[in-house]
Amino acid sequence: MATQTFTATDVLRVDGPHQRPTRSTGARIAAGMPFWVLTTALAIIFLYPLIWTAISSVAPKAGTSQVDGWGLGNYAALAHYQAGIWVYLFNSLFVSLLTVLLTLVVSLLGGYAFARFAFPGKNMLFLVTLAILMVPYATLLIPLYVILNAAGLSNSLVGVAIVLTMFQLPFSTFMMRISFESIPRELDEAAMVDGCSTFGALRRVLLPAVKPGLVTVGLFAFLAAWNDFMAPLILITDTNRMTLPLAVANLRVQVQGVIDYGATEAGVVVLALPCILLFLLLQRHYVRGFMSGAFKG
């Protein structure tokens, strides 16, 4: 399969094969009615669970932390749950940002190496990096649990970030490699003729040119780390070091088997909101990421 990249506008403006002949506006609207009804119904199905949860998290409801009226009672309950939401938010942000940082640095340098230098073992290393995709996440976490213990990184957010970075490498290394390869070599060669070192050329000339690739890689690393459930579930046992998804999931197993559904709703909103906002803001990069991830050679 040929390596192709698509931009968001390519995908979001696909022109279909069947262009309808021009008709009067009224006739067109009438003919389109079934289609409008169908797509609207589908959109409602897709958005309803999100909207219901958002509204329900502030609505008065029996069996939740806010029986009396509309308000942020569910969020207040979440704030006081165990170590408190602020600790979990901090943990999640710490893991996510460290994962983003590590992923950016490693894949920037790695992508540069794979795109610009000839070195023995290059193709082998690249293939092994891509092979991470073929190995089930769950099967690696058990030995990683043992290895991180041995390395003194048991129960550590840094350990979780290292593991999450590794799982990001196939996509991000691939993405950075094609980003560098799409820039003409003359650009950095000229910089080196002018006396730049290879690192200088990377920093001054190439870095601005691969910025879109870096944004895509960073966005995916953030979302993956923010949303990851399994790595912290297995690697973190200390309540104070849990990440937000883990803490919200734990609301279900509260004392006396009583589940605080209201606080769970609030937790889901806190978890989902940054993802949806990032998605809407960076839709172009998000779509491009899917595309290059999907069309690896």
Binding site: H18, V106, F117, I132, T165
Partner: protein, 302 residues
């Protein structure tokens, strides 16, 4: 043999090429370190663990072959979990690929309204699987969900029966991933050249004929990609079941990965047997992926 200034020879011999090789390794070193210590090393360790007596607390207690594999394969839930995982995988794969293609065809053209709909279908894909599962955990709840009164009146629960639990989870997965598969299908559709459709139209082909004889065959690479992705992902299902059902009711929704997790960290605390299960899953997945790639290869590539 005369030495000419052909690029490959020069690259191998010149000092500049040697410097290049060192620099290349220098820049690739962090990648290599991650791959070596966080990927290759655990991969080797899981093989070793699968042959060792290795309780959760206590570390390696020595060789234990072939007992771990025997224990894994004779675990009372082993075949159940494999059967359930395959059932689940077939259902989600068929539904997601069908719906993905359906949605893609529906919103293929680039009017403003269709772009808006595409975004609406895609929004659930931005959520984490765990967040989406927690969201549906509340929605399916007989106490707090939007269907709570309905459930009370009609006397049913979403997650209470084996079939209910399976299809409730499938609905969650379809909701979360349909937009994502729609996007992959859109890219595939975009790869079909317009003049093929043009020719079909001139020949007077109906919409259905065009779809059956042009769109579907030419989407073959996309079908291959989406099937491999969906099958691989579904065979490794964990979060959705861990959060919604914990494998219940009555172990009816126990997936293979949930079983690995339970053997390692819940009750049994046997990392050796869990590692043996992992190696079995790993081997099975590699075989399945080779098989899939071969099945989807075009005849002319043989």
């Amino acid at each position: 043999m005369t030495i000419t200034a052909s690029p490959p020879l020069r690259r191998r011999r010149s000092p500049r090429a040697r410097r290049d090789a060192w620099r290349g390794w220098g820049y690739a070193a962090p990648t290599a370190a991650f791959v070596l210590f966080v990927f290759i090393l655990p991969l080797l360790l899981v093989l070793q663990m699968s042959g060792s007596d290795w309780p959760l607390l206590g570390g390696n207690q020595g060789l234990n072959l072939p007992d771990n594999y025997v224990d894994a394969a004779t675990h009372r839930l082993f075949w159940n979990s494999i059967g359930f995982t395959i059932t689940y995988t077939v259902i989600t794969t068929v539904l997601l690929i069908g719906l993905g293609l359906g949605l893609a065809l529906l919103v293929q053209e680039s009017t403003r309204w269709k772009s808006l709909m595409r975004t609406a279908f895609l929004i659930p894909s931005a959520l984490g699987l765990a967040s989406a599962s927690l969201l549906f955990y509340v929605i399916y709840s007989p106490y707090a969900g939007p269907f709570a009164d309905l459930m009370k009146a009609w006397g049913f629960t979403f997650l209470g029966s084996p079939q209910g639990a399976l299809f409730s989870t499938v609905f969650l997965i379809v909701w979360r991933y349909a937009g994502f598969y729609m996007l992959l299908m859109l890219v595939g559709l975009q790869g079909i050249p317009d003049d093929v459709y043009e020719a079909a139209r001139i020949d007077g082909a109906s919409r259905w004929q065009t779809f059956r004889d042009i769109t579907v065959p030419l989407l073959r690479p996309t079908f291959a990609l989406t099937t491999v992705m969906c099958v691989t992902g579904s065979l490794l299902a964990f979060e959705q079941f861990y959060i919604l059902t914990k494998g219940g009711p009555d172990n009816s929704t126990m997936t293979v990965v949930q079983l690995i997790y339970n053997v390692a960290f819940q009750g049994q605390n046997d990392l050796g047997v869990a590692a043996a299960l992992s190696v079995i899953v790993l081997a099975a997945l590699i075989v399945i992926n080779i098989f899939q790639l071969r099945a989807f290869r075009r005849p002319d590539e043989s």
